[in-house]
Symmetry: C2
Subunit: 275 residues, 2 copies
């Protein structure tokens, strides 16, 4: 009954257009270049970085993976920020113990901040000024648009208040004239609030957090969770049984994830001056 | 029946402590100094600037009012930003036609941005990093705390999504573990949402927007509106009849207003290195 709101078709379309822009830029002597700064040996992070690097190569974007020591991170970010040949910079999390993203991300110039990590980018987003939103948060909106879900005047409920997903997604939804509620671990009676949602965004990182009890008939559910399973798979924050009630549900994997990667690459060609 | 949640006592207390800090700083050869940049002849703006200047003088803070032409504003902000003797900078709105606050406010260094106008300050606030919030938004929280209103796990509904009040107030409430809903002109059935609020913040600038229909028994209502009346007075966004139902209501004038001015001065002495 419920539509599966997949992201692979949208991601492929974004990648195709990004590759066209990258080819145009490269032909003009300005090959788009992305730098990913990875400062820990975290395994799931390494997997994610490899997948971005592979997608970048396929789209014709040069991708450098830089691995500084903890004390070098700030210097490396400043150097990349000043390098005219580098157009996009991603500071991969988690960071080493004792190193704070809030201290480092301001070293990424907003014009190169393709994953919206600098608080100045978040502030510009909140103030309605041009900026790169965190790609995951933008992927939520891109999926809603791709599947024709109306937002103006509708009630969007975001579960999760992280700086990388929940908060920027709330601002993007607000900018589209949705009424927005932000819930989190301290919310009392979560289900009573989420059942009012026309659009429900689950971005907590807890498998099975959203159950049929949390969803009304017709609610469109965007599952941002990517939780590793014991057998090496991936599950979201939403119980798959929700599909029987909801008006639409994004799959995990194959929903928000591929669109996020595609948007990171799109941001990079835009930062390089592409369309 | 309803408590009147006045702000004058809190404001007086804030001003007293600020004056003590200012005296200590001045005795140490570091007199706190606030610069207000006023680029239009708007009358209500001029009244507000005079009231801040007067309050600053009373607290022992040097206050310079600077009136650049539209083309000089950016240069003046940069000069004040670089001047070690200036600790706080306010860019007064409205700005002249054709001049955009989003282009100018980034020239205010976050460390001197005592009214949180720079999008970088909003981003730092949203990311939970140290910053000066817009004083009006912080006044909402200061009043709730002063009157002992609990926030953790409660539902706060903010009506209005401006960069200077609605959005930063939402982040401050979220940071205090409230569940937060942001409503605005495109919200359908506003009353159905506001009636669910434990705390209701009205920050739209429309007299009588919030009526008894919008409020449940026990809701604490913070009225941020300051709308001029034909006879030279001031009314809020909330119909005074709401007081009969609500669990508490801030008066206009005498609620958010005096606390806002006191917080601007507190921010200035903090920017100067005071406690």
């Amino acid at each position: 009954m419920t539509a599966s709101l997949g992201g692979r078709e949208l991601a492929a379309d974004l990648r195709r257009r990004t590759a066209e822009s990258a080819a145009t830029l490269t032909a003009a002597g300005r090959p788009p270049r992305l730098a990913i700064v990875v400062a820990t040996a975290d395994e799931s992070s390494a997997w994610y970085v490899r997948s971005i690097a592979k997608a970048a190569a396929a789209a014709g974007i040069v991708c450098d993976v830089v691995s500084p020591t903890p004390t070098e991170i700030h210097t490396v970010l400043s150097r990349l920020g000043a390098d005219d040949d580098v157009h996009g910079i991603i500071l991969q999390t988690p960071l080493p113990a004792g190193v704070d993203v809030g201290d480092l991300a301001p070293a990424i110039p907003p014009a190169k901040d393709v994953d919206g990590a600098n608080p100045a980018s978040l502030g510009r987003l909140a103030a309605g000024l041009p900026s790169f939103p965190p790609a995951t948060a933008e992927a939520v909106l891109a999926l809603l648009d791709h599947h024709g879900v109306p937002l103006s005047g509708r009630h969007a409920v975001v579960v999760g208040r992280s700086t990388v997903v929940g908060k920027p997604a709330a601002h993007l939804l607000l900018d589209r004239d949705a009424t927005v509620t932000i819930c989190h671990s301290r919310t009392s009676d979560l289900a009573a609030i989420t059942r009012q949602a026309d659009v429900l965004v689950a971005a907590v990182g807890r498998p099975g957090l959203i159950t049929t009890e949390h969803v009304s008939p017709g609610t469109v559910v965007i599952d941002v969770g990517t939780n590793p399973t014991a057998d090496g798979g991936l599950v979201g924050d939403v119980d798959p049984a929700v599909a029987e009630t909801a008006g639409g549900l994004t799959p995990v994997p194959g929903g928000v994830g591929p669109v996020t990667t595609a948007l990171l690459l799109q941001h990079t060609v835009r930062a390089a001056g592409g369309p």
